[in-house]
């Protein structure tokens, strides 16, 4: 079960990280537009399309990865004081009652939406450049599928925790500086389940 869990975690992380690199495309693309528009006085027609498509793909595909890192923000004012078993039971119930149906709806509606868009090779309406937007829309159902897999992984994690009374270790990954520093400080006494926070 743990191997299956880590398989899904790595899948989400791999996809999320692959798309994360789009931030460089976004940075250089936008900077290029700034240069040609303000220095050369010759703006491109595709800059806005390029930027939102990259940004959209970047964050959509990072959704499951973020979930695998417990990075989606929680109001953990009460939650953090519960024992792991209680946390896991509550999470388990809400993953099954709330998360899985919502993500199935997300996947289904994305599927219809993307299908129509792919069929007539939809291009962006924001500029005359005719930048194809259907690949971005096609990512919506893919996102739904990834979230569904990751949701199953989280359900497994909850079950493992209810059985053993403590949260299973997550795969190692880069952490926010504060999380890393705090962990170094209290090495040993850490609680891996605490929501990582993003600190933004």
């Amino acid at each position: 079960m743990t191997r299956f869990l880590f398989f899904i975690d790595s899948l989400s992380a791999w996809v999320g990280k692959a798309f994360a690199w789009l931030i460089l495309v976004l940075t250089f693309g936008v900077s290029y537009e700034v240069f040609v528009r303000y220095v050369l006085g010759r703006p491109t027609t595709w800059a806005f399309d390029m930027s939102y498509i990259n940004y959209g793909a970047l964050f959509l595909m990072a959704g499951a990865y973020t979930l695998s890192r417990n990075g989606h923000v929680r109001a953990d004012v009460v939650y953090r004081f519960w024992r792991p078993r209680m946390q896991a039971s509550m999470d388990l119930a809400l993953y099954i009652l709330f998360f899985l149906p919502a993500v199935v709806a997300f996947m289904y509606s994305g599927w219809l939406y993307a299908g129509a868009s792919i069929q007539f090779r939809e291009v962006s309406i924001f500029s005359p450049a005719g930048v194809p937007v259907f690949p971005l829309k096609a990512l919506i159902p893919v996102t739904g599928a990834l979230l569904l897999c990751q949701g199953v992984a989280e359900v497994i994690r909850c079950i493992l925790c209810i059985r053993s009374g403590r949260w299973p270790q997550r795969l190692h990954d880069v952490e926010e500086i504060e999380a890393q520093l705090l962990r170094e400080r209290e090495a040993g006494a850490a609680e891996p389940s605490a929501h990582e926070g993003t600190g933004v």
């Binding site: 999320g16 990280k17 798309f19 994360a20 931030i23 460089l24 976004l26 940075t27 936008v30 900077s31 537009e33 700034v34 930027s51 939102y52 940004y55 959209g56 970047l58 964050f59 959509l60 990072a62 990865y65 973020t66 979930l67 890192r69 990075g71 989606h72 923000v73 929680r74 109001a75 004012v77 009460v78 939650y79 509550m90 999470d91 809400l94 009652l97 709330f98 998360f99 149906p101 919502a102 993500v103 709806a105 997300f106 289904y108 509606s109 994305g110 939406y113 924001f126 919506i140 880069v174 926010e176 500086i177 504060e178 520093l181 705090l182 209290e186 926070g197 993003t198 600190g199 933004v200």
Partner: protein, 449 residues
């Protein structure tokens, strides 16, 4: 139950569920889908024909194609890169020797370093922990009062979400559908006002009670002027230039926030390279963290916009409007009432949830009271400064506690941060009494004449 009653039930249930600690973005999406299905349902209709499905995906696409939110990953990336650019030590050291003759010089230098570094990174947690490891022990070694030192680090570290280019303001602009540029212009003076109030408070305390901030030993302050200038030139000015060029480009109307953010991100890479900190590991870490933080913010938007549409469709928004209008509040009372709610929400919640989920409930009401959404936004931005330092979820205080020496208690940190929370209230009152503090600059810059 009538539809508006269902709507209020939806809101109540939502607040109950998020208090159970489930990820908020997915709670919003799930409840939007569930209640939306009910709202759109007509008897005899096939289950999969329900219009909620097209609403959900439309809201998703609206988030992905929002021109203001495009700036979010770029500013985050710039922040993560600056955070890893090996600049903080130099910056603190240079400001410390530059401020050596000011009463409470270490505390003032800490505040200025925090304000500046936080402005460039926009990331609260990292600033507080890094300064908690760098400046906090330095102040304690110099014999500074524990509470005052703790308050300075906590309060200074949060300024980055207020002083432009802050992500909070981008998120508010996207939520309220107003110009991010004007909001940035409006936040400039209040942001510097608050930072100056902090500095004045620290200097005042240091003058009234010199025992709080003992003078540094002579060998630490005895630095030749040339050395002071050199350290300022190599640490303070490059970062200041980065911030000012990003801000200037936005404020002078030369570039949109996302364009300035893109150029700023590129400039931060150059800066990191200049400090010899640019390598594959730091780049990779910044890239991955950017993706996760962006996803966290943007999924909240998908959830919130879906939830809000369904809430309005059921008539819940109307109930809230009638309730507020029925109270016969004056605009002042309304402002105090809403800001008090936002202050209280800051106890259990972080600013992302407050701005993305709860502020939209108040925004449609502003018109009725003749309140400018930009003005309201500045008050909210000031107000959320307190959210980091008020228990039980005082992120800044907990971060500092996590890296502080064991003898520093959470109670010390809270007590130390309290006067700075009052400074926030004072700045809110000043902005309220003199709205020009917020509205003059955008007016001056963007009113054609």
């Amino acid at each position: 139950m009538t539809d508006p009653q269902v709507g209020m039930f939806m809101l109540g249930l939502f607040i109950f569920i998020i208090m159970l600690g489930f990820p908020i973005a997915f709670t919003l999406i799930a409840m939007g889908v569930g209640f939306g299905f009910y709202a759109y349902y007509t008897p005899g209709q096939p289950i999969l024909d329900n219009r909620i499905f097209s609403l959900l995906v439309q809201k998703t696409f609206e988030v992905t194609s929002n021109d203001v939110l495009t700036a979010v990953p770029l500013f985050l990336f710039m922040g993560y890169v600056v955070e890893r650019a090996n600049i903080l030590d130099r910056l603190f050291r240079s400001l410390q020797i530059a401020a050596k003759n000011v009463p409470g010089s270490l505390a003032v230098a800490t505040l200025l370093t925090c304000a500046m570094f936080a402005t460039a990174t926009g990331i609260v947690g990292a600033v507080v922990t890094l300064m908690g490891l760098l400046a906090f022990p330095a102040m304690l070694r110099a014999g500074y009062d524990v509470k005052l030192s703790a308050g300075v680090v906590c309060a200074g570290g949060c300024l980055g979400i207020l002083i432009p280019p802050s992500i909070l303001l981008i998120v508010y602009a996207a939520t309220a559908g107003i110009s991010a540029v004007k909001l940035y212009a409006a936040a400039m003076i209040p942001g510097f006002l608050l930072a100056s109030l902090y500095v004045v408070y620290v200097i005042g305390r240091a003058i009234l009670n010199p025992a709080l901030c003992p003078k540094l030993p002579a060998e630490e302050t005895n630095v030749p002027l040339a050395e002071v200038v050199r350290t300022l030139l190599t640490s303070f000015f490059p970062l200041a230039a980065l911030i000012l060029s990003v801000l200037g480009a936005i404020l002078l109307g030369l570039a949109t926030p996302s364009e300035a953010a893109g150029a700023g991100a590129l400039a931060s890479l150059v800066l990191a390279a200049a400090y010899g900190a640019l390598n594959f590991t730091m780049l990779r870490d910044s890239v991955f963290l950017t993706a996760r933080a962006t996803a966290m913010v943007c999924y909240l938007f998908i959830g919130s916009w879906t939830f809000a549409s369904v809430f309005a469709l059921l008539g819940g928004q109307g109930v809230i409007e009638r309730f507020f209008l029925g109270l016969n509040l004056s605009p002042t009372m309304f402002l105090i009432f809403t800001q008090a709610i936002i202050f209280l929400l800051g106890w259990p919640l972080e600013w992302t949830e407050i701005i993305i989920i709860f502020v939209p409930i108040f925004l449609p009401l502003l018109d009725n009271f003749g309140i400018d959404p930009i003005f309201f936004g500045i008050l909210v931005a000031l107000n959320t400064q307190t959210a980091f330092n008020t228990p039980p979820v005082a992120m800044a205080a907990f971060y500092l506690k996590g890296v502080a020496p064991p003898h520093v208690t959470l109670a010390d940190i809270f007590k130390g941060a309290l006067p700075f929370v009052f400074m926030v209230f004072l700045s809110m009152a000043l902005v309220y009494i003199f709205p020009g503090l917020a509205l003059w600059l955008p007016d001056y810059l963007y009113t054609p004449r």
